[in-house]
Symmetry: C2
Subunit: 129 residues, 2 copies
DNA sequence: TCGCTATGACTACAGGTGTAATCACAAACC
DNA sequence: GGTTTGTGATTACACCTGTAGTCATAGCGA
């Protein structure tokens, strides 16, 4: 039953993801707005952002709501769903589907700071009273 | 100081990763050996495996040790390192670098079974006596 | 010795990706 | 009304990826 299949057939690429983040953070922005937030950071031109927006609309990841002669772009998929899908993909690919293995790995390779560990511990207490 | 740059300049792709797994599992195999293990599973021809092996050697992810007229391929990077790099990339990209956020997400989306949680709890006890 | 065969090297090629220029055109301004 | 300007659409193009075919050639078997 292939769990957690994200609704889009097409995958979102790295560059596209950067655009998605901007729109998850604040939906209904124009191409120029999005550019304002990522162009300098990633060294992109407005044209690049426009291309990425178009592709994301084609892929069904964004909705383009007409607003005069331009569009306001809004994600059609929740960030939660995307993040969940990507996480699952990683866990499946690298940890044989076991999320616990991932956590174990992070712990063993010191990827978890003391604060992380404390936070996780608190989480666990909450989840298993 | 661009943190956690894995030793290879080039990224390993999905298809290449499948080949790497075979060689991590058992190093020093020939192209034919590797094909034996993945070709049917992925519907590949031997030629495809050869291409992937070549690209991985070029990328510095594999070493090719001459053995008569053929090569024995062996990973130059440890699976641990690769897995660590990929995990970190995901955490950086999707969870703002916070591994705890990833764990929280997995927990919240029910990606963690009761067994997973128990396992993690045990891990934590070990890590923070 | 001489052809067969296994093997890496090289070539191919369509589709995806990153990055952008150009075009058409409607709105805004003068 | 004519010009500038902001905008999406279209086109471009090099590189990466998946997938594989062809070629040269060094051994192996007869």
């Amino acid at each position: 039953m292939t769990p957690s299949d994200d609704a889009l057939g097409e995958r979102i690429t790295e560059a596209e993801h950067a655009v998605m983040e901007v729109l998850w953070d604040r939906p209904r922005q124009t191409a120029a707005d999005v550019c304002e937030e990522v162009c300098t950071a990633r060294g992109w031109s407005l044209a690049t952002v426009k291309t990425l927006l178009s592709r994301l609309v084609q892929k069904g990841a964004l909705a383009a709501e007409p607003d005069g002669r331009r569009f306001l772009y809004t994600p059609t998929i929740a960030r939660e769903a995307y993040v969940g899908g990507e996480s699952r993909r990683l866990v499946d690919r690298l940890f044989g589907g076991s999320a616990a293995s991932l956590v174990a790995h992070l712990a063993e390779t010191e990827a978890l700071t003391e604060d992380d560990l404390a936070e996780i511990e608190a989480l666990l207490k909450e989840l298993r009273p």
